[in-house]
């Protein structure tokens, strides 16, 4: 059974990736599952300087989903390379460094800094966090700016460059094309959907940032549709994510066009989810006599 997939030059031994921000810096999960079994680990979004994120009131549960407004709190690229990477790279898995900047220059700087480190296999560029200010959001919603910021990062790294798209757009296909035009080797589809919740007793928003990103099974049908649309719009591989809880969910994303899948929120409710989902994928393949996982990609019959 071949489970290996190629994500824009990044070869994974299997298509199961952990989603950024839901798996810390990877090593924290070593107690719960065998990291060697995961296709790739995407670490929490990194910036050149450490960031303390938003004020408390950061997570809130909603029907079959959760809102978060962590605000990209992270220890910074230097600390990551110094304190986390040495331990993380001992595992036989691929490491994807998710990163962001507040300006085009910062994106390029971050990409360059991460590329200089030893043991990072690919970069995932976050232009789609819903907890940032209006100006920043344009990186992920205005195709011209998307292309520009991607091109800047592209110029700063030789590593496979994955661009993570926002679902908060009219046309994910247009955004996918813009990212590819900017030089993306692959796409991650999707980040969280902007949502909010209000405490009717205090009349205050549940999140200090007022709005936050919705993730979890609630968004799965929307994420699946976006993966389908994005995968048809471009030739580069797509990592599908949004509400995946089981192997069956993962298969759905691959049939819609994803070459690999990422698991996010499910890690919080089942820290061993990544390996269980991989197990589910294998069972489906065995049960359906599928030898090569790649034959599933985009295999939906209309």
């Amino acid at each position: 059974m071949n489970l290996s997939v190629d994500i824009g030059g990044l070869r994974l031994k299997n298509p199961v990736v952990t989603a950024s921000g839901t798996f810390a810096y990877g090593v924290e999960y070593a107690e719960f599952l065998d990291l060697n079994q995961i296709g790739a680990i995407t670490v929490k979004g990194l910036s050149t300087r450490p960031s303390k994120g938003n004020r408390p009131g950061r997570v809130w549960e909603t029907p079959c989903g959760m809102l978060n407004a962590i605000g990209l709190q992270n220890i910074g690229i230097d600390a990551f390379i110094k304190d986390k990477l040495p331990e993380l790279k001992k595992y036989d898995t691929k490491i994807i460094a998710n990163f962001y900047g507040d300006t085009i220059e910062e994106y390029a700087e971050a990409a360059a800094a991460l590329s200089a480190a030893d043991g990072i296999h690919a970069l995932e560029m976050n232009i789609s966090c819903p907890n940032k200010q209006a100006g920043w959001l344009a990186f992920g919603t205005d195709p011209a700016l998307t292309q520009k910021v991607v091109a800047a990062a592209r110029g700063a790294t030789k590593l496979p460059l994955i661009v993570k798209l926002s679902p908060n757009v009219t046309s994910i296909a247009d955004m996918a094309r813009a990212a590819v035009d900017g030089g993306a080797d692959a796409l991650s589809v999707v980040n969280t959907i902007t949502g909010m919740a209000i405490d009717i007793e205090s009349r205050r928003p549940r999140l200090s940032n007022i709005v936050g990103g919705l993730s979890g099974p609630a968004i799965r049908p929307i994420a699946l549709r976006m993966v389908y649309e994005a995968a048809r719009a471009v030739k580069v591989p797509v990592i599908g994510m949004g509400g995946i809880m089981t192997g069956a969910d993962a298969i759905e994303f691959m049939l819609a066009g994803a070459s690999a899948i990422a698991v996010g929120t499910v890690n919080f409710v089942n820290p061993a989810a990544a390996v269980e989902i991989l197990e589910g994928i294998k069972q489906y393949m065995a049960g359906h006599s599928i030898d090569d996982i790649n034959s599933l990609v985009g295999g939906m019959i209309c």
Binding site: A24, P56, E61, N68, T265, F268
Partner: protein, 265 residues
């Protein structure tokens, strides 16, 4: 020691008078020992409503026996919202998934130190572990009304160490348990002259704010509650503001030194 395991409900005991219930679950794996103040994340296996696990303090651990080779965990829970009300109705035999013990518990009490425990409302659940570890220390327990009182763990408590107050006077003194505490400290100030006084508290945010204003001559440790997603320090969702910057309640806490936390609003 595996901190992520499945378990099944072996008892779900409803109080007739209140929305409190006792959940006893049998872990399917051996677990590490929990310190008072540490907690567990629980959820019905496979459920998506509620989606996230819910944090509960370990009220008691019953050692392994024939039926329960890994012992059993007891939680005392007040059904307050959607998740706890669903949990309340789960029948015996329901499969749960559990993470724990997690968090940093109450610091150990050193020799020569004097301990006083303060519980407000369902906060009592978090201090049972302390009571078992330090039997007979003065316990101040405030409830809104008699029906909400959880007395199962207190039946044999030395009466002169138990100080109860209720908002409506239906049990113990009428009024705030903090008034009782204040009077006690004034009266029995001598008892802790021998060493540093430690007050370990678990209750609502408003209680901590009131305690902060009391300017207690003691090391006051409190157990905080915030909404949580992961419970293990990875989602960064349960942040709380402290004098030293943001800290995670699930990992750096839930127990914090009262003077370190910024009690806003």
């Amino acid at each position: 020691m595996n901190r992520f395991f499945s378990a099944d409900i072996i008892r779900n005991f409803q109080s007739q008078e209140s929305r409190n219930f006792i959940l006893e679950v049998r872990p399917h794996a051996a677990l590490g020992s929990a310190l008072p103040g540490q907690f567990f994340m629980l959820k019905q296996a496979g459920a998506v409503d509620p989606l996230l696990m819910r944090p509960f303090s370990l009220a008691d651990f019953i050692p392994p026996n024939e039926n329960n080779p890994n012992g059993s965990l007891m939680f005392v829970i007040h059904a307050i919202g959607r998740g706890t009300n669903i949990l309340r109705r789960l029948p015996k035999g329901t499969l749960l998934t559990v993470i724990g013990p997690v968090g940093a518990g109450f610091p150990p009490v050193s020799e020569g130190e004097t301990l006083i425990i303060v519980a407000g409302g369902i906060g009592i659940a978090s201090v049972f572990g302390l009571i078992f570890k330090y039997p007979g220390v003065p316990l101040f327990y405030g409830v809104r009304t008699k029906e909400l009182m959880i007395d199962s763990g207190l039946l044999n408590y030395p009466q002169d160490k138990l100080h109860i107050a209720s908002d409506d006077g239906s049990v113990g003194d009428e009024g705030s348990v903090l008034d009782l505490l204040e009077r006690y400290l004034e009266r029995d100030g001598a008892i802790h002259s021998g060493g540093r006084l430690k007050i370990y508290a678990c209750g609502p945010h408003s209680m901590y704010k009131a305690m902060a204003k009391m300017a207690l001559d003691a090391d006051v440790y409190v157990s905080l509650e915030t909404p949580m997603a992961c419970g293990v320090g990875t989602c960064l969702g349960c942040a709380v503001e402290t004098v030293g910057g943001l800290q995670m309640v699930c990992k750096d806490g839930p127990v914090f030194n009262l003077k370190d936390i910024l009690l806003d609003g």
